[in-house]
């Protein structure tokens, strides 16, 4: 298991500063919850999808759709029955199937869901987890919290391998291979117990390693890598400000 969704590249999204990308995420959330018409939200979602297509390639539009199409169908089918008040758009006999309000709400939810999905997808795809941690640290996340995140990300692949190895070993011991479906408890309890013991045994060792490396001292810490400074940062901040105006202009217009 690879503990990262980042794909290296040279697009403008990759070159955008990590701090600006982190600020872009709450902007996207805010933009889709500002009271607005479905058309505006659909345009916003389309703009963010276009951002993904231009920066990461048109093929990158498919993975989120492949994973989330059942939710999109559920939204389309299950939203109208909850909004049957008002003038009807589609009526069969005396049964109202779709109203203006239902159509507007369905389109709003679809735009919101797709826009937020693509917005977060774009940032996660174009930002390495090292930059994510450095960016969070720049915004004030304590060093110990950043250290926890970094160690967690480094530990995930090893633990995933441990899981597969222990699961395969237990299967061989039980002589089951891939045949049948034993009950959940009988199948997973021995594997979970073994993996948990392996994991917790590593805690004191890691703690001693951290202490021997000086964790807990008060002197200022250095960092092996850092985020860019200077004129490039100014350009990225200006770009973010423009994006903020573009995403939140319905709120500005309303005021």
């Amino acid at each position: 298991m690879i503990a990262e969704f980042y794909v290296p590249g040279a697009s403008f999204l990759h070159r955008w500063d990590a701090r600006a990308k982190l600020l872009f995420l709450p902007l996207v959330l805010a933009a889709f919850f500002v009271p607005s018409t479905p058309v505006v939200l659909l345009v916003l979602a389309a703009m963010i999808a276009a951002l993904v297509a231009i920066a990461l390639g048109p093929s990158q539009l498919l993975p989120p759709l492949k994973t989330l199409w059942p939710v999109l169908i559920l939204i389309t089918v299950l939203t109208p029955p909850f909004h049957l008040a008002g003038p009807a758009l589609i009526r069969v006999g005396t049964v109202t199937l779709l109203t203006h309000e239902a159509l507007a709400t369905t389109l709003t939810l679809l735009a919101r869901f797709l826009g937020i999905t693509y917005g977060f997808f774009a940032v996660v795809r174009a930002m390495s987890l090292d930059d994510l941690v450095l960016g969070l640290r720049w915004f004030g996340l304590p060093y110990s919290a950043c250290l926890v995140v970094t160690i967690t990300l480094r530990t995930i692949p090893a633990l995933a391998l441990t899981w597969h190895a222990v699961r395969d070993a237990h299967r061989l011991r039980a002589g089951r291979g891939d045949r049948g479906r034993p009950p959940v408890v009988k199948t997973y309890l021995p594997v979970l117990t073994s993996v948990m013991i392996e994991a917790v045994k590593g805690i004191p060792v890691l703690a001693m390693a951290l202490e021997s490396r000086g964790f807990g001292r008060r002197n200022p810490r250095t960092s092996f890598s850092g985020l860019k400074e200077g004129s490039r940062l100014f350009v990225d901040a200006a770009g973010l400000a423009a994006a903020a105006v573009a995403l939140l202009w319905p709120l500005v217009v309303r005021w």
Partner: protein, 175 residues
């Protein structure tokens, strides 16, 4: 020294939270248990229940919230659920740990804590889903979340008892 009240050492707390968050992420992302009808559940809740019972409410909250949030971030399409998972599963771990702390080792309290955590988790995702997907689609996810939470409670309590019996130093690591 590491053996004298290790849980108060900042390095120990960082190490325990990081490793158990990694366990939570792996059990959420890697392990898929098929349901009898259709679909899959993950075992992330097992790790949250285990951590809350064995290491206490704060470990349960931080590693549970962080582990599930990272699992969402690493999934790609589900990345926007990360802040919601951080809060919902963090609250789940916190409540389970606080209830179990009243009388450590009491099975009844562990079950009660697990059920309360399960309800908070399913309810939290339902409420968040209302704003993102709408009430209808969000409601369809509640049964799956409850099944996943229930399996997490049962396996979490069993794993906690088994690991404490097999690795006794764990009893002194609560904070």
């Amino acid at each position: 020294m590491i053996d004298e009240q290790p849980a108060v050492s900042p390095a120990f707390r960082v190490a325990s939270i990081a490793i158990l968050a990694a366990v939570t992420t792996v059990l959420t992302r890697v392990v898929q248990v098929p349901l009898p009808a259709r679909g899959y559940i993950n075992l992330g809740d097992v790790a949250i229940v285990f951590t809350a019972i064995t290491l206490g409410p704060f470990s349960g909250a931080i590693s549970g919230g962080l582990g599930t949030a990272l699992a969402d971030l690493l999934s790609g399409p589900y990345a926007f659920w990360a802040p919601i998972s951080l809060f919902v599963h963090g609250l789940q771990g916190l409540l389970i740990g606080l209830i179990c702390r009243v009388r450590p080792g009491n099975l009844g309290l562990q079950v009660l804590g697990g059920v309360v955590g399960m309800a908070v988790m399913a309810g939290g995702y339902f409420l968040a889903g209302i704003f993102i997907e709408g009430a209808g689609p969000s409601l369809t996810e509640v049964p799956g979340n409850l099944i996943q939470g229930g399996v997490g409670v049962v396996l979490g309590i069993l794993v906690s008892a088994a690991v404490l019996r097999a690795y006794p130093p764990l009893r002194q690591w609560k904070w």
